[in-house]
Symmetry: C2
Subunit: 475 residues, 2 copies
C-alpha cells in the first residue's frame, strides 16, 4: 500500500515515530505542559468510553459494584504493606501543601488503591454474610515516570481497578482467573487482539501479590505489551490492615483478596497491532465512528439528499455513522478518515444514485464493493463481522509467526533480535531469569497457561526445566 | 409517620445529624482517613452513575464531546488569569515532590480546569472552522476545605465540567443558558427537584466569569443549595491564554467562552429534599433499585417461586428490581429498604398467590395497594410517574411556601430566621448586598429570571430598586 498520508512517518522507517505521529494526527491525544500527563482528545476518549461501556457491563454481570475512593493516600497508610511500598514509593507524586499549610502526613496521589480499599474493607466487613465484596472504580492514577509515551507509559493514566474480598482462598483464586478471562474476551471480541494468557514469575509480579496473571499482546515491532493484570493477594494485605470476619464456624477469619486492572494502554495496543502507514485501523466494534459517508459531487442536491437518507437509515439502526458534507474534496476526506481508521467508507455519487447503489470501502484491506441500496442495512453489520474476523486473524497469524522455541542461549538472542516471543524452558530460578535480562534486556512476560514443553533442561543453567516461559522485550 | 428506624436522628431534633445519619446508614458513603475525602459506596455511586448517564446523553444530543485533561496544573499556568487565581489559590492542594525530587514548578491538583482547557484550545483552535468547541469531562476535583460535609462540601468531589469556545459572544451566551436549561431539566425530570433559575450578582459569581447562572434548590431546613452553575466568560481567559482564530473576514479574532458544571452535591439535594425520619426517599427514575420484592413466609416454596417470577418479569421489562430472599425477617427488610428509599416494595405471600395478586407499597407516602398479578407490569411504570409527580409537587409546594417578599429589613430577618428565600428589591449596589450578609449571614442566591417586582425602592438603602433578588442562608 502506498503511503498516501505523507504527514506521518512510515512504520519501517521509524516505528516509534510512526506511533507518535498517529497518536497526534489521528487526534487521539495531545501533550499538556506537564511531562507524562496527556490530554485525551474526543476521538481518543471515545475509544476509551467504548471499552469502558463494554467492560462495565461484563463486570456488573458477574456482580461487581462500582465505587469511588479518594485520590489521595496518607503516607502513613501507604506504608502499611511493606512490599507494596517498596514497589511504588520511587514513583509517587506527593502533595505536601493544602490551603497554604504544610501537611503533617503528606498525601500520595494514588498510584493504585489497594491500601484505601483495605482500610475501607476493614470497616465494613464483619461477618461471612458481608462477603464477597467485589468493588471496582474507574479513575486515573499517577505514577511519576521518567520516560513516558502516549497511552503506553504515562505519569497519569486512566484505568479501572477492581478490588475484591472473599471468604475462601479458592473463591479468590477463581476470581483472579475469571477476571483474566473477561480481559481476554475484550481482546478477542472487541479489540480484535489475541492475547497470551499466563502467570507472572515471582520477579515480575505485582508488589505485594502472591500471584499475578496477565494478558500480553505482541506489537509489530516485536515487543510485548502487558495489557492487563489480575492479582491474587492471599491474606497478606488483609492481615496488615486488620481485616477479619466472623466465619460460619463462629471463629474470626481473614478474607482472601484479589485486584485487577486494565488501562488506556489498551489504546496503545489497538493503535500498534492494527495500524498501517495510512494511520489508524480501528476494529469495528470499538470504533467511535463505524461508517463515514462521503458524498461525491455533493453540489448536486440529489447527492446530498441521498447521503442524508443513508445517514438517517444507518443511525436509526444503531450504527455509529458520520456524514461529512464539509466543502473539502472527496480525496482529502478519504485520507482523513483513513488516518482516523474508520472501518467503512460509504461513497455515493450521481452515477451510484442512477444505478440504485453505493460504493463501500473497507479500511482494513482497502477493498471496495458496490452494494445495492436496499442491501446496505444488511450488508454493513455483516461487514463488521468480516472485518473484525480478518483483523483478529491477521494479528493472530503475526503472533504465531513470532513465537519461537529457543534451543540455545545464542538462538534466544537471535529470536529476540528478530522480535517476538522466545519460548524458553526454565528451571524456575531467579538467577536464570536475571541472566536473560542481563544478556538481552528481555523479561519473562508470562508462564503461559498453554505449556507444551519442548525440552527437559533449563535453557540457561541446564538443570531440570519446570516451565515454558515466554520471554520478550517489552514496552 | 412513626420513626421506625430508630438508628437515625429525627429531622426535627437535629436536621444536620439526621443528614449525616442517613448518608451513613443508607450506605451512600463512608469517611476515609483524610478529612473531606469521602468514599462513594456502591449505593451512592450508583445514584451518581444514573445522573451521569442521563446527563451525558443530553450533553451529546447538543454536540458536546467528552475529553480527559490532566489532574494537575502547573502553578505558573494556574496564575495566568488573575481573578481566577485570587478565587481559588487559598483552597488548593499542591504537589511539590515527584519521584523523590522537589518539583521546580509545583503542581496544583485541579480545583477546576479552565486554565488547562484554555492552554489546549490555544493549540488546536486556528480558524472559525474549528469552532465551536464543546468539551466536557467527568472527573474529580480537589478544593482544600476547612469545613466539610458529605456530598455538600468536600475536599474532593465528583463532577462534570464543560468548557466551550464559540465564534461569537451571542452563541456563547446562548450556550450558558442552554446548559442551565439542561440542568434544570435534570431536576424536573430525574430528581423531582424544582430549582430557582437565575443569574448571580457580581459578588457571588465565579472567579473570572463575566456572568454566572445557577440553579438553586431549597432544603427542608430553610437553607438554599446551589446545585449547578454555568458561566459566560467573554474573552478574558481567551486573551490571557492567547487563543485566537482566523475569522470569516480573514482577520484574527478572539473566541468567546463558557463553562458549566454540576457535582455530587446533587446527591445531597436528593437526600435532603425528599428524605424523612425513616431515611432516604428516592425519586423512581434515579433510584438504583426501583422495586424491591419481599417474599412473605418464604419457606413456602411456592412463595419463593412466585417472587422469582415477579423478579424475572420486572427485570425483563427494564425495571431495576431486587429480590431479597435472605433469611432476615420481612419487618427487618421493610425497615432496610425504607432506609434506602426504594420507591416501591412488592410483597408476595401465600394468600396473595391464592388470590392472584401482590401488595405494592409506595415509599413516598406509605400507601399500600393490592394489584392483580397480570396488571403489575402495567401498574409499576404508572406508579413511577405518579410518585415522581407527587414528589416534585411536594417539593415545589415547599418552595412556594418558603419564598416570601421582604418589605423591611426587620421582616427580612424574620423570613431568614424562619428559613427559605426572602425576595428582596435591590438597587444593584454591592454595599447593600454586603449589609444583608453582615446582618443576617444570608447571601444573594440569584437574581431569578422570573422577576415580578413588588416595590420600587431598594430594601436596604431606599434608592431606586433595579432587581428582585432571592436571599437565603445557604450551604
Amino acid at each position: 500500500m502506498n503511503n498516501k498520508n505523507e504527514s506521518i512517518t512510515r512504520q519501517e522507517d521509524d516505528f516509534a515515530q510512526w506511533y507518535t505521529d498517529v497518536c497526534l494526527k489521528a487526534e487521539l491525544m495531545d501533550y499538556s505542559s506537564v511531562k507524562g500527563f496527556i490530554i485525551y482528545r474526543p476521538y481518543g476518549y471515545a475509544l476509551w468510553e467504548n471499552i469502558q461501556h463494554y467492560m462495565d457491563k461484563k463486570f456488573k454481570d458477574v456482580g461487581v459494584e462500582n465505587v469511588y475512593l479518594p485520590m489521595v493516600i496518607p503516607t502513613s497508610l501507604f506504608q502499611k504493606e511493606k512490599d507494596h511500598v517498596v514497589g511504588f514509593a520511587p514513583e509517587t507524586l506527593i502533595a505536601t501543601q493544602g490551603g497554604k499549610n504544610e501537611l503533617e502526613d503528606p498525601l500520595i496521589i494514588r498510584p493504585t488503591s489497594e491500601t484505601l480499599f483495605c482500610e475501607h474493607y476493614a470497616k465494613i466487613i464483619e461477618s461471612y454474610r458481608d462477603l464477597p465484596k467485589r468493588y471496582n472504580q474507574w479513575c486515573s492514577v499517577v505514577r511519576w515516570e521518567k520516560t513516558t509515551r502516549p497511552f503506553l507509559r504515562g505519569s497519569e493514566f486512566l484505568w479501572q481497578e477492581g478490588h475484591t474480598m472473599y471468604e475462601t482462598e479458592e473463591e479468590a483464586r477463581k476470581d483472579a482467573l475469571r477476571m483474566l478471562e473477561i480481559y481476554d474476551a475484550v481482546g478477542r471480541d472487541l479489540l480484535a487482539i489475541p492475547f497470551v494468557k499466563g502467570i507472572k514469575t515471582d520477579k515480575e509480579k505485582f508488589a505485594g501479590a502472591v500471584e499475578t496473571y496477565s494478558i500480553e499482546a505482541l506489537m509489530p515491532d516485536g515487543k510485548a505489551l502487558q495489557s492487563g493484570t489480575t492479582h491474587y493477594f492471599g491474606d497478606g494485605f488483609a492481615k496488615a490492615f486488620g481485616i477479619s470476619f466472623l466465619g460460619r464456624n463462629n471463629k474470626l477469619e481473614t478474607p482472601h483478596q484479589t485486584s485487577w486492572g486494565v488501562s488506556t494502554r489498551l489504546l496503545g495496543a489497538i493503535i500498534m497491532v492494527h495500524g498501517d502507514d495510512n494511520g489508524l485501523v480501528l476494529p469495528p466494534y470499538v470504533a467511535p465512528t463505524q461508517v463515514v459517508i462521503i458524498p461525491i459531487q455533493q453540489k448536486n442536491p440529489e447527492v446530498l439528499k441521498k447521503a442524508r437518507e443513508y445517514y438517517e437509515k444507518l443511525k436509526a439502526a444503531g450504527i455509529r455513522v458520520k456524514l461529512d458534507d464539509s466543502d473539502k474534496s472527496p480525496g482529502w476526506k478519504y485520507s482523513e478518515y483513513e488516518m482516523k481508521g474508520v472501518p467503512l467508507r460509504l461513497e455515493v455519487g450521481p452515477r451510484d444514485i442512477a444505478n440504485g447503489v453505493c460504493v463501500i470501502a473497507k479500511r482494513n484491506d482497502s477493498s471496495k464493493m458496490t452494494v445495492k441500496e436496499e442491501d446496505v442495512l444488511k450488508e454493513i453489520p455483516h461487514l463488521f463481522e468480516v472485518i473484525h474476523d480478518e483483523m483478529y486473524k491477521r494479528a493472530f497469524r503475526y503472533l504465531l509467526d513470532h513465537t519461537t522455541e529457543a534451543h540455545s542461549i545464542k538462538e534466544l538472542g537471535e529470536i529476540l533480535d528478530r522480535g517476538g516471543y522466545a519460548k524458553v524452558m526454565w528451571c524456575g530460578e531467579r538467577e536464570c531469569e536475571d541472566k536473560i535480562k542481563e544478556l538481552y534486556q528481555a523479561t519473562a512476560r508470562c508462564i503461559p497457561f498453554e505449556q507444551n514443553p519442548f525440552d527437559d533442561k533449563c535453557l540457561v543453567c541446564g538443570k531440570k526445566a519446570k516451565k515454558v516461559v515466554f520471554f520478550a522485550r517489552a514496552y
